[in-house]
Symmetry: C2
Subunit: 347 residues, 2 copies
């Protein structure tokens, strides 16, 4: 009797999910004969940025990576990044935002070399993500880098078996309906696109409107399409959704639980609590925070970048003019950006 | 007596400045055996965007360029831009913003191919501008593209002889003190950087603070540096400034004329009137609007892009593997971004 009254919700902590991802990272690291160096640049006056920097350092050091934190005046940052881009000892670069807290921050994001961008914020990576292009080379050997936080949510959904491994890669969310609350350019919109590219029907909810992201009936489209849902609000999306993912900044926002389906999976990626404690009386699974997964995804991206670099060097050593071919291949890839790509590979 | 009471201010209209720039464009066009095609993409619901589009078309057609306006749903824009990027009949692309009116607009800006970006909004161009790198190739034959609106202001200052042609190229604003009101990432900040790169001391004024952009004593620095001016406001900058350039959106903002130096040069780049009519009693020169110059600068950028493309083709035809060398050169350029560059060339 007591059991029947107790809520059934399984609360899954980021730490546990991070652990399973870390095993994969450790395995990859064993195949490399040195410690990859991640350099963090701290020019932000936001205390949260410092906490994130310290946490990155701690996680990196505990897991076989070298980490250096470089604190400097924000006016010196652009030149420092350019130096790090060409410094062969630096494998990966992370910049802690906000710095100017305006569009100058986006300018700085594009300064970081594509080859060292562990955060996955370079336009090339963002473009590949929206276009559902999963590889950097035409031979499909070098995987593209995805932005950390959206990828962390994907990894959580994989861990929670929302991705159905019975289905083919690239369509493993087929049949799922997911609401993403917040359509920021950093997390909300890319996340909606990634989920739709994997076959889900996604409702992307912002203050102004609701948009539907999906690949249509039969998933024959290479990538998602976006359609406006005029007049729609959370009242229309939440009752339809198996999964509710929320990332609204600000402590006052709460997802209206009365609209959430019984047994829905609820994930909070805001640093604030977007779900009231009563979520446990409704949800089947609840993930209250994702930060620790995000940092492991960052290290995983760094590992991938180092592996790509090693592979590239091996290829260049094999064939004379190999380096040039890489450049050629990149140019070709750009031209073929619209061409159909096989999407049958895990992220 | 009547004359002495009459204000001396010379009001210079954009149209007259545009005409002198157009002559240069016509001369360049004569050397090309076809009409360059500019394609405008209109997915904005802002009526001002439509007016700008129509004005571009009119100016382009009247001056020997072909113009096509493509109106489409904003959800289709990304793919349409990718198509235009690879369509050899399209020489230049302009997108009318705002579209989503958030950071997705910046994402779209980066979709436009660097080789067709007449607005000069590609990261590579913006990077070159801030870093004061004036060429696209190590041989300094292909000039980089500059963002239209800031470049229009530069061209106006050249026309007004604020640029002193006695001084060497690249330092022709040496000794000038200029206040730029508004530090947007689209115009205000790049403009401050361009002016400082040309030798001026620039006070960049935003709601929050004042920053000084300059290349220091003796102009020995390759590019400008930025320093905060804690506690400064317009009260401190305007009395020191020979030139006041304002671009604050919103009809209520007015530059406080009582702080403006007698005989200052005043330029308004806002679509609203940032200077009250009494500016004519203070300023020596007043430019009330710059839109028509901006469109001519756009055509000038298009011409430069077409010329660069023709030069590139000629070089490729001359040497086997020339195309590859171009790619190599670009990669090299990136690596050498920090290297000293000769700045002795007009923009």
């Amino acid at each position: 009797m007591a059991d029947a009254e107790k809520p059934n919700c399984k609360v899954v902590l980021a730490n546990n999910i991070a652990k399973s991802l870390l095993e994969e990272v450790h395995d990859g690291l064993k195949k490399i004969d040195r410690k990859p160096l991640l350099v963090g640049f701290l020019s932000s006056s936001d205390p949260a940025a410092r906490v994130y920097a310290e946490w990155t350092g701690k996680t990196a050091n505990e897991n076989g990576f070298a980490f250096q934190l470089r604190e400097l005046d924000r006016e010196l940052l652009e030149d420092a990044l350019i130096d790090a881009n060409t410094d062969p000892s630096v494998d990966g670069i992370i910049v802690y935002y906000p710095i100017f807290n305006n569009r100058q921050d986006q300018y700085l994001q594009q300064i970081v070399s594509v080859d060292k961008d562990v955060e996955g914020l370079s336009h090339q990576y963002i473009f590949n993500m929206y276009q559902n292009i999963r590889f950097l080379d035409p031979e499909n050997t070098k995987k593209s880098i995805l932005p950390c936080t959206p990828l962390a949510v994907i990894k959580i959904l994989e861990y929670l078996r929302i991705y159905n491994t019975i289905l083919p890669y690239g369509n493993r969310l087929h049949g799922r309906t997911i609401t993403v609350v917040n359509r920021s350019e950093v997390v909300g919109r890319p996340l909606a696109a990634l989920l739709a590219n994997d076959g889900a029907r996604v409702y992307s909810v912002d203050i102004a409107d609701v948009q539907q992201f999906d690949r249509g009936v039969g998933l024959r489209k290479r990538r998602h399409e976006v359609t406006e849902k005029p007049g729609w609000t959370l009242k229309d999306c939440l009752p339809l959704s198996d999964v509710v993912i929320s990332g609204v900044p600000g402590s006052s926002y709460k997802v209206p639980l009365e609209l959430v389906r019984d047994g829905a999976v609820c994930i909070n990626f805001s640093s604030e609590k977007n779900f009231a404690p009563e979520v446990k009386e409704k949800a089947s699974i609840y993930v209250p925070a994702i930060g620790k997964v995000t940092i492991v995804v960052l290290l995983r991206n760094l590992l991938r970048i180092v592996q790509n670099k090693i592979d590239e060097k091996a290829q260049a050593d094999k064939s004379v003019g190999g380096g040039l071919k890489q450049v050629e291949a990149k140019e070709e890839m750009k031209a073929e950006a619209k061409a159909e790509k096989e999407v049958g590979q895990p992220l």
